[in-house]
């Protein structure tokens, strides 16, 4: 049995996360070759959607996990420890609207309130509260870019890596909210009861990252 159960996000962060596990001498070949299987007990790896990682780690179903800061910010009530900024998977949480005259500013001037579509309702609501603007948050599950194009909202809050999808849909970034990168998180009880194993993992990731940057 491995010392630690590790929650690994499928999707954009998967490949670089598996590279980190290779640095830790964890055998990732089966995870890489089988994209339907979810639980890899021999190597202590469970794979899931990035947004589920905090849930599993909080409950102790996994001891540590890899996920994006965007997920942790949206689920800030989740009781997990954030141990390390891993630096990969950089994305920016942005406020975007259609190009041309800013419809969000116009809505705020005329109506006093902006309608905003997002998959990150808590992040968006916090941001508008912090910046002192009234916003009506519309939660959508699919492509957020569609919402301002159809007149559902004036603006969107979404995560963008390269900005390509925004550009192709005629949207421009108006404000940058925060930069998100991959983070290592831990269950608070495992952090105490498996202190040595977790500290060793953190140290090896730190050292390996320093070596990678030095190259």
């Amino acid at each position: 049995m491995p010392d630690l159960t590790i929650a690994v996000p499928r999707g954009a962060l998967l490949s670089e996360t598996l590279d980190r596990l290779d640095w830790l001498d964890i055998d990732t070949s089966e995870v890489r070759s089988n994209d339907r299987k979810l639980l890899f007990g021999d190597v202590g790896v469970v794979t899931m959607r990035p947004s589920d990682v905090p849930t599993y780690v909080e409950a102790g179903a996994a001891d540590v996990g890899f996920t994006g800061k965007d997920v942790l910010t949206e689920q800030s009530e989740t009781d997990v420890y954030e141990l390390l900024d891993l630096g990969y998977g950089p994305c920016t949480m942005v406020l975007a609207t259609v190009s041309g005259p800013d419809p969000a500013a116009e809505a705020l001037r005329r109506l006093g309130v902006i309608r905003v579509a997002t998959k990150y309702p808590k992040t968006a609501a916090d941001y508008f509260e912090r910046t002192g603007r009234q916003a009506e948050i519309v939660e959508v599950k699919g492509s957020v870019e569609l919402a301002p194009l159809t007149g559902l909202v004036e603006a969107i809050v979404d995560l963008t890596a390269t900005g390509t999808t925004l550009r192709e849909n005629g949207l421009v970034v108006r404000e940058e909210i925060f930069l998100s990168t991959a983070r290592l998180i831990a269950n608070p009880v495992a952090y105490k009861l498996k202190a040595q194993a977790i500290d060793a993992l953190v140290d090896r990731l730190r050292d390996a990252e320093a070596v990678r940057i030095a190259r």
Binding site: E58, A59, G60, A61, E77, D79, V80, Y81, E82, L83, L84, D85, R183, A186, N187, P188, V189, A190, Y191, K192, L193, A195, D199
Partner: protein, 321 residues
């Protein structure tokens, strides 16, 4: 058949489970009584203006207005009501005073998080014994109580709530920045703490000490390793260790970054962990300033265990989960 709902975060307990819970409660009560703690009960409903004298801790979440227009709240813990009892009913009694309880408490829940609005707590409050002596007695009773329920592999994380604030004083961190650093500590966000400290431009020695203390955990040897840099706190914890029997000391994990979310702790703080459960199943600590707010200034220490969590940890161990 109609479904007649009960509020989320509340539940009915049926005979099979109730039998198991009762046996846990019986084991705990036996240990508390043997150690000389007298069981007390206080009303679930109290005047808001009386309980709010505590001004800290879990804020009561449920209020009702009574037939005279007074605002009543459902207690959110037993520590604050017992502080009231000590200051009023025992205003002239010679300390130390020893109380125990098994009682439901009521907390706010956030949606879809599986939290309880109402849950049973069992605990003790030891009033009027100074620092190391009182804390050692409370930890000893805690270990015996957990062992009496049949829990085998539990550990107790032990920290000092006064340590991190004092280190921040020494580093000259105050104002809003101090609040932000304490919040990062309480939520276990070490990435955020590193960022906050780097923005503050305090000298490297202070910054690295704060980060090291926040992450430091292990046996008493970690105190020797860092002792000189944290002074009194290390001495206090070592003095506490000296008072503990080996079977209690071996359960402890020093955790200098431990910060409990209830605001009333002033010294030693502790949390109970079991490998069968992803969250702490209880905790406690010293609250030397709380009783003064109710009119009788005495040092105190106590702990509370969540019976449901204890039950779950025991069930996980027996492979029933």
């Amino acid at each position: 058949m109609a479904i007649l709902p009960i509020p989320s975060g509340t539940r009915d307990i049926l005979p099979d489970e109730m039998r198991e819970l009762s046996s846990i409660v019986g084991a705990l009560k036996g240990v508390f009584a043997d150690a000389g703690f007298g069981e007390i009960t206080t009303p679930a409903l109290e005047y808001e203006e009386v309980l709010s004298r505590a001004d800290i801790g879990a804020r009561p979440a449920y209020r009702v207005v009574d037939d005279h227009g007074a605002v009543l709240v459902l207690r959110s813990d037993m520590t604050v009501p017992i502080a009231r009892v000590v200051a009023t009913r025992y205003a002239t009694s010679d300390p130390p005073l020893r109380f125990c309880y098994v009682a439901p408490v009521y907390r706010a829940v956030r949606p879809h998080r599986g939290m309880s609005r109402e849950f049973l707590q069992a605990g003790i409050e030891l009033v009027g014994l100074p620092s190391a002596e009182g804390t050692a007695e409370a930890l000893t009773v805690l270990c015996r109580a957990l062992e009496a329920t049949g829990l085998r592999e539990f550990r107790i994380g032990l920290g000092d709530a006064a340590l991190f604030p004092r280190l921040l004083d020494q580093a000259g961190v105050d104002g809003p920045a101090r609040g932000r650093v304490m919040r990062e500590l309480a939520t276990g966000d070490f990435v955020g703490m590193e960022r906050e400290l780097s923005v503050l431009r305090i000298d490297d020695a202070h910054a690295s000490l704060l980060l090291r203390v926040a992450r430091l955990r292990g046996g008493p040897e970690v105190l020797e390793e860092i002792g000189d840099a944290i002074g009194d706190a290390a001495d206090g914890l070592l003095r506490l260790y000296e008072r503990l029997a080996p079977e209690v000391a071996r359960r402890l994990v020093i955790d200098l970054g431990l910060a409990r979310d209830l605001g009333y702790y002033t010294g030693a703080v502790f949390e109970v962990y079991d490998p069968g459960l992803g969250t702490p199943l209880g905790g406690g600590g010293r609250y030397d300033d709380l009783l003064g707010r109710f009119g009788r200034s005495l040092p105190a220490v106590g702990f509370a265990l969540r019976i449901d969590d204890l039950h779950q940890a025991l069930t996980a161990r027996n492979g029933h989960a």
